[in-house]
């Protein structure tokens, strides 16, 4: 009886979530179609406004950011094109179109920042993790968890020794896989939720050695460069560039992805 109530309440929850999103998106869907139409007829400023309206309504999708980035690119604003492609890439790390357009947009900016090569295994692992979406890892983790539950149940309830042995080791394997994929998912999620990267939006920024105006100027970056945020002190942010350079920049000079 209890589990039945649980089941129904879960179902109810899902239905409510679905109906809320459906109800809101009727007007939003119209403006989205209008935005795409504006893009098709080369009215890029119009398209930008409409996409931003949809985002302002509290919706997001990698395709939405992708289209907005495209509109910015076409209107010549490469910095914001990069910002939106980065946002799209965050939601869909493995989309080839987004990567292509992002790379193309990066060729249009002033700075050519060469990223440092990562150690082989780390790069491979990162690539592997980001080859799937967060929800894929989540569902994978849940599936393997249920497989573990089944196998562990077998282990607990079976009488023959052989079944007990097999089911035990398989259940250990299943829970390990579940835990690993859960880590993958949470890794991606933390990347998504924690805004730990940003795009420089000021035309030219002097990066300081310390978080103050009087700090030694280390180097200059221009708009469009993507930086990792590693620390924050008041309005100063410690950034690290893909090429390994680090320094302090004012928070107002960038927009977080």
């Amino acid at each position: 009886m209890k589990s039945l109530i649980k089941k129904y309440s879960l179902l109810l929850l899902i239905v409510i979530i679905c109906s809320i999103s459906k109800g809101q998106s009727t007007t939003v869907k119209d403006s989205l179609a209008a935005a795409n139409q504006s893009y098709n007829t080369a009215k890029y400023q119009d398209a930008i406004r409409k996409y931003q309206f949809v985002i302002g309504q509290g919706f997001e999708a990698s395709e939405l950011y992708f289209n907005l980035g495209n509109a910015f690119y076409k209107s010549g604003n490469f910095t914001y094109a990069i910002l939106n492609f980065e946002r799209a890439k965050k939601l869909a790390p493995n989309d080839a179109d987004i990567t292509y357009n992002l790379d193309l947009a990066r060729t249009q900016i002033i700075d050519n920042v060469v990223s440092l090569p990562e150690p082989g295994f780390q790069r491979w692992l990162k690539q592997f993790i980001s080859s799937q979406s967060i929800n894929f890892w989540g569902i994978f983790s849940i599936t393997t968890f249920f497989a573990f539950l089944f196998l562990f149940g077998q282990f607990l309830l079976s009488r023959t020794f052989r079944t007990k042995q097999l089911s035990f080791w398989f259940s250990v394997a299943a829970i390990s896989i579940s835990a690993i994929t859960f880590t993958f998912g949470s890794h991606l999620k933390s990347k998504l939720v924690n805004h730990n990267s940003a795009v420089i939006t000021d035309r030219s920024v002097r990066v300081k050695a310390s978080p103050s105006e009087t700090g030694t100027e280390l180097f200059i970056v221009h708009e469009g460069v993507t930086v990792q945020l590693t620390d924050q002190l008041g309005e100063w942010v410690n950034v690290s560039l893909p090429d390994g350079n680090k320094g302090w920049v004012k928070e107002s000079a960038m927009v977080k992805i």
Partner: protein, 599 residues
């Protein structure tokens, strides 16, 4: 005159050749501008002999003389072709009575029965200058050897002082003279810096014409007419014109008797320079990217040599731009050909004449190209964009679209052509971002399934499900275990009760019931003890189970023996009480032994 007429008559009579009738022209000539009180000639010329001349009324002028008729004729043979021309002229000498513009209507005449009318004229009469002009010869000047500036000057006249870049203006260099101009020695013309210039062809001989300037009559000669196309914006200055003129001037010599009769003339050199002229050039408004640089009014026509060819056959597409404007400066419009066509630079030919409207004529662009591969291609319309300075707008003219069918070549000729390009990489025509995605699945911001409440709930449900299942099973097992223990505990009691029952039957002497009770006591005991249903029990199973429960071999054999004896006795009674007693004792003993041994 008489002799000439006679001559003509003789010639006509002698040769009696057919005379070809010429186009009859009947014209009226007079100076356009005259001074008040000035005498001038009005002449009618006819190139045939006519009758009944009707002259216009000349009420606005005093007719001093006329009409006086004169006639001239000529006859010539060139290469055996003879031609004859006759010219009659009627001459009036008139004098203007009052200032103003006076039209003179047409005169009419009949030639060979046909009616001809002359042109009409308008004569402007202006107030005369203070100095009476004496038939082209000036009165002696105050200072000999110099010419006053008001009597001889040069001007650069520009028809427009403000224009768009690429539009044209006409610059005319004119010399104004009241003196007796004998000729020019040196003419320094401006080099029209900042313009692309094109001279308008003028007659070699500079003829002076009467014009008024500031209300006075001058003899004006047009030295040069140039079309100017500004090439830069801003204020452009046209430099000075400097002319060394030779002027015939009457020199005042010491008075002597003869001087009154003969004037002394001397050639005087006078240098005149014009004032610089400024032209403001406005930049063109922002226009389309494919603006050809043409300013004016144009028309576009296009033609193609062939629309159905074989591979590697040449096709020529020709664009003709006709109109007026800066034809010379038009850039070739860009032809958008299919990518794997081989295209050569366009051949540009222009043909134009300069006039006040600009350069009139046409420019043609011939694009030669070779389709390299068979197929059906479309050459999109070519846009020719020009700026219409009159309306201040850009105008686009499009050529027609051509569809070209390219058939496969015959193989022999294209082989050597194709061998150069034996293998081709994919040609990248341009680089652009990938197109937007139309299939968008919107999610409310921050709703990621991973890490959401439902996500963790699923784990929790699964885990609690397993725990619940496990607990339920455990409970069942425990319950089952209890039943077994109870049965175990009760087993000997039940057995004892059944043995007592058997003892009762033994005493009462009912043999069959006694054996049955003993058997049941044993089966029931084993069933309870080992949790095996009675129905499943038989001797072998019981023996095996007993062995499992670590019962000794002796007790098992004794048990089997009792069961065997009981079953045998049940179906073959006999043996009496003694035997039954023996069995009973044996059964009790085995039972107690079993109770001890199995647990």
């Amino acid at each position: 005159m008489r002799i000439k007429q006679l001559y003509l008559l003789v010639c006509v009579l002698l040769l009696s050749l057919p005379v070809f009738a010429q186009q009859v022209s009947f014209t009226m000539e007079a100076p356009k501008i005259v001074e008040l009180g000035e005498q001038f000639r009005l002449a009618f010329t006819l190139n045939a002999s006519g009758q009944s001349l009707k002259l216009p009324e000349l009420t606005d002028f005093d007719v001093l003389m006329g009409p006086s008729t004169s006639q001239s004729s000529s006859y010539q043979i060139i290469n055996g072709v003879s031609s004859q021309s006759v010219s009659f002229s009627y001459l009036f000498v008139l004098r203007a009575k009052k200032e103003g513009r006076f039209p003179i209507s047409a005169a009419s005449i009949i030639v060979n029965g046909n009616h001809y009318t002359s042109n009409t004229l308008t004569i402007e009469v202006v107030k005369g200058s203070s100095k009476p002009s004496g038939g082209g010869v000036d009165a002696p000047t105050a200072t000999p050897g110099s010419v006053p500036k008001s009597d001889l000057f040069v001007k650069v006249i520009v028809d427009r002082h403000s224009l768009y870049k690429g539009d044209h203006a006409m610059a005319t260099i004119k010399i104004y003279s009241k003196v007796n101009l004998n000729g020019f020695e040196d003419i320094t013309l401006p080099n029209f810096e900042g313009f692309w210039s094109q001279d308008v062809v003028l007659p070699q001989q500079i003829s002076l014409q009467r014009e008024t300037y500031n209300g006075e009559i001058y003899n004006v000669g047009t030295l040069k007419k140039t079309l100017l196309f500004p090439q830069q914006t801003g204020v452009i200055t046209i430099g000075k014109v400097k002319i060394d003129c030779v002027v015939q001037q009457r020199v005042k010599a010491p008075k002597s008797f003869f001087d009154d009769f003969f004037d002394n003339f001397a050639n005087v050199r006078a240098t005149v320079t014009s004032d610089p002229v400024m032209i403001t050039v406005n930049p063109l408004p922002a226009g389309p990217a494919n603006f050809s640089g043409a300013v004016g009014r144009f028309d576009l026509r296009s033609s193609i040599t062939s629309t159905s060819v074989k591979e590697n056959d040449a096709i020529t597409l020709r664009l003709d731009v006709t109109g007026s404007g800066n034809i010379k400066l038009i850039n070739a419009p860009k032809l958008k050909l299919p990518a794997d066509f081989e295209v050569y630079d366009p051949k540009i030919q222009s043909n134009y004449t300069a006039s006040a409207e600009g350069l009139n004529g046409n420019i043609s662009f011939e694009y030669l190209f070779l389709p390299r591969f068979a197929g059906d291609y479309t050459i999109p319309p070519v846009d020719f964009v020009y700026f219409d300075a009159g309306s201040g707008k850009y105008v686009t003219k499009s050529s027609q679209e051509f569809k070209i069918h390219v058939a496969k070549g015959d193989g022999s000729q294209p082989a050597n052509v194709r061998s150069i390009f034996s293998k081709e990489d994919v040609k990248y025509l341009g680089k652009d971002i990938r197109f937007i995605k139309s299939n968008i699945e919107l999610n409310p911001k921050g709703t990621i399934f991973f890490g959401s409440f439902v996500f963790y709930l699923i784990y929790l449900i699964g885990l609690s499900g397993l725990i619940a299942l496990y607990l339920f099973y455990q409970k069942r097992i425990r319950e089952n275990a209890n039943v077994a223990r109870m049965k175990n505990k009760k087993a000997s009691k039940v057995a004892l009760r059944r043995l007592k029952e058997a003892n009762g039957h033994l005493i009462s002497g009912s043999t069959e019931k006694f054996y049955e009770s003993v058997t049941r006591a044993f089966w029931g005991y084993l069933s309870d003890k080992m949790t095996i249903p009675v129905a499943e029990l038989n001797k072998d199973r019981a023996a095996a189970e007993l062995a499992n429960h670590k019962a000794s071999e002796g007790i098992v054999t004794r048990f089997i023996q009792i069961i065997d004896t009981c079953e045998f006795a049940r179906f073959a009674p006999g043996g009496g009480n003694e035997k039954m007693n023996e069995i009973y004792v044996e059964a009790c003993d085995v039972m107690s032994q079993m109770e001890k041994e199995i647990n």
